[in-house]
Symmetry: C3
Subunit: 374 residues, 3 copies
């Protein structure tokens, strides 16, 4: 009952949203700090290994490092150090069965592998997803209020030439309650002027986050949105995907995919949007590895309303090599549990089950990101 | 494990909220457009048969049309065309085991059967639910700002004579964050004046939607509210039933039932309201058929807090005859799974199980809508 | 499958949030009025025994009163009356396996046992949790606008000497969308002045509820917040724990635990907060007994993101002795089901399972409330 169906175990995956990996060795405190969305452990609580993801590391990652299942945390970390971070990364990344990784390199790039380095470690195809805000923040110092829009469009166009998609982190900066309308040139210039005058390169302006998204849509590449679950910088109640409803309605006739990332605990809301808007897609990355053996329950909730042609796979793994492995293994578990129960009750045929898994595992991503041409 | 308990299979049902059926043949594009809350398919996605409801059509509807379970979509639609829409409707509607259908005929009436036509097709009792906004929109052109309230009350009173309930679609027009207080005569006249001056017959005014509800309550018939899940016209974040809390508090002493329809993904919120407000009732129609084999999970969540005397059955089926069949079959499945698991664990007696099913399946609806006297 | 794992059945529990018990006999109407969060039954609905909690009373409480499982409600209440409320209370309280009860005596104290009386009935250790608003309301009549802050701090300091924690009911009075910043002395005096001028001793002022919390934090005792599910006085949409995000961010460096009580149906949101904020803890009390045999599903959702070092046990039982028994028994059931399924699938070791249960059952509470020193 707990193993994977063969066609799920062998399913090639496209991880349509993840980040680079840390190649330096990390001690226990550093490991725990990267394990969940908590910044650190605290004397008020206990180890972050006391969690579903902590149990999953010991269950599912320990054997990859030649340890028995459920090895204690300290033994696990000692073995990890003994093998070295590079070997650990190779083992975990190459064991995922992922053919293509789409990497958002926009967060803490100095601490992580670059996209080409990641490709070598993982022995897989890699593709760039360009973080809109990172480009804007790079462009700002060399431009003016009136020149910002053109400078940003120009630079984004250059970055688009070697990328497969864009990503917005409006959720982290201003929340998702974005005005549906495209800002006018005057509004953009005024907002850029305000931003320049702050002297702070960090973008947090509703008009500009929105402008970035529309500029991305002009270029025709899929636009990813961080939605829902993240670290303590997020105001989670401002990150419900339903807050994007107006913008989704305003952009539906452009034929450019919009991808709602993560979504937990609003994944049923995201599934609704994926059903009713032609250009909207959703995943449950990040919560998949954090929820450990509960991941299948979350995926099943997403699939209540989301058409199978609108659901994608991602890990949102960041930093720790274990997270790519867990995100992938737990996604496979969720998919296998879902179709296995349906097959057992004769709710779908095996042909249907294989098709569902192929769509969600890689076909949707290949179609949306045009990976055959990338 | 997947079959129905006998007393659930044989349970007479009252479908307290549905719509008419399309009696014209539909081609594949038209069928998919009516299958879910999506307006249409899109080249960005895949067929809407790639969904839990799509699988359920092929699993549960195909045999009713003499096809094997899991027949391919094209074969299914070919057989459907061969039988003709009227025969298809008869088969699906008469097989539901529904004794009484409560029909909201207020949306796209020209495309659907009338209530009497539906009764003949279904060979069942039919009852009218009057859409408040439809009556207001019909009354408006022949009245004045000052005359609107009286004209509406008069016309609604006439419609009430042959109806068993009212329905508000405030959710679709202004959301559910309605002011709890009854609007004054002056406020209603002012709002009607504004509406008349727009020259647009479509009502979307918080004061007036609220006034319609209070007028309905005056007449003593149960008032249904669209809540939650619907098509892309809905701003779903404005349709959380909790937004009605103030209005529910203000109306609880009137002794008139208020029925929260659909509710997904806010069905746990609706269950809370059904527990703490004497006059509030809830269902999970619409999501029941859309979620296919996940429907039992949704019903179970509703039943966490909602007393069994406050839960009703509806399909919210519209247009496609399959939806009445699926909404009913999946509701029975959910109810059967729920009580079967409880019986297996000795969490309730069989007497309790039978009582629960009778309440939810038909007794609550008969009591609330006074169907024995209808 | 439905029994408890031995180490869960024997697990000592700390109930970190409950209230006193009624020691007078209650008739059926009074019993139903205390059974759920509904104020009363209604002729529109049916008996509140028609609910998951009603079934659980008849399943799990009847045998404690020497009746067969599933005894009818009237037979149950007759036997209850025959034994008398005091004997009923003794049986239910002493059978919980709870070593320590933390009692919030601030609501309807005249109708309930005092903390010492409760200790005798339960034959267990008891500890006081002081309701911040009750102290403020007691202090108000004897002070002035300018004197309020000092008078409150002084009185709360006295109460803290014999208490283990504080509780805020801001949720019930103004909702949880509290300004993150500590109010200034001038703001507090101005708000106290407004309050004094109302002539109404009932506190409902955002500035003052917030001030009470900060004063409690100054004293270093854990601060509990009512969150989510409650009776019909709650505006549940204003009680999402995510609304506290700003305040939690502002208080995280003080090292004082904040405990989010109840949380349903926002328990996944609470779990997120417990993961990302070092000082935040969560439980699913109140919904545990109300949801009857669905309680395990709710606990499992909480544990998706909440680290095991951040989850506590409470019943939130109030008035009816049955609720302590049910809250405890259903929590044990949920915990047992959770770890049993994980053990069966080899998702954790038995050592892990025992540790998880000990943390959640009593260790976290003992550490946070420093009960070894209480």
């Amino acid at each position: 009952m707990t193993g994977l169906l063969p066609f799920v175990a062998d399913l090639p995956l496209v991880d349509h949203h993840c980040h680079g990996v840390v190649t330096e060795d990390v001690a226990r405190a550093g490991f725990e700090a990267m394990l969940t969305e908590a910044d650190t452990t605290s004397p008020l609580g206990t180890s972050l290994f006391d969690s579903l993801i902590g149990l999953s590391v010991r269950e599912r990652c320990a054997p990859v490092l030649d340890l028995p299942k459920h090895a204690p945390a300290d033994a696990y970390l000692a073995r990890r150090a003994e093998l070295g971070a590079a070997e650990v990364a190779r083992r975990f990344l190459r064991g995922t069965g992922t053919t293509d990784f789409l990497l958002d390199g926009g967060f803490l790039p100095d601490a992580l592998t670059t996209t080409p380095e990641f490709g070598v470690l993982a022995a897989a195809r890699v593709h760039d997803v360009v973080r809109l805000e990172q480009v804007a923040e790079a462009v700002l110092p060399g431009t003016t209020a009136e020149g910002f829009a053109a400078a940003f469009a120009d630079e984004l166009g250059k970055r688009a030439a070697t990328a497969v998609g864009f990503k917005s982190i409006a959720a982290y900066r201003v929340g998702l309650d974005l005005n549906p309308e495209r800002p006018t040139a005057g509004e953009v210039a005024a907002a850029a002027g305000r931003w320049l005058r702050t002297g702070n390169v960090r973008l947090a302006d509703e008009v500009l986050h929105r402008h970035l998204v529309w500029t991305g849509l002009d270029l025709g590449l899929p636009v990813q949105f961080h939605v829902g679950y993240g670290d303590s910088d997020v105001d989670l109640h401002r990150c419900d995907p339903l807050l994007l409803t107006g913008l989704l309605r305003a952009t539906r006739d452009r034929g450019v995919p919009i991808l709602l990332l993560h979504n937990y605990p609003f994944h049923r809301n995201a599934a609704y949007l994926a059903q009713v808007f032609e250009h909207v897609f959703a995943d449950v990355g990040l919560s998949t590895h954090n929820a450990g053996f509960r991941a299948p329950a979350i995926l099943a909730e997403l699939l209540e309303l989301a058409p199978f042609g609108k659901v994608l796979f991602s890990t949102d793994a960041f930093g720790l090599a274990e997270l790519y492995h867990l995100g992938t293994a737990l996604f496979r578990q969720g998919l296998s549990d879902f179709v296995r129960a349906a097959l057992a009750a004769d709710r779908m045929s095996e042909v249907d089950a294989v098709r569902l898994c192929a769509l969600v595992g890689h076909e949707n991503a290949k179609r949306i990101y045009r990976l055959e041409h990338a």
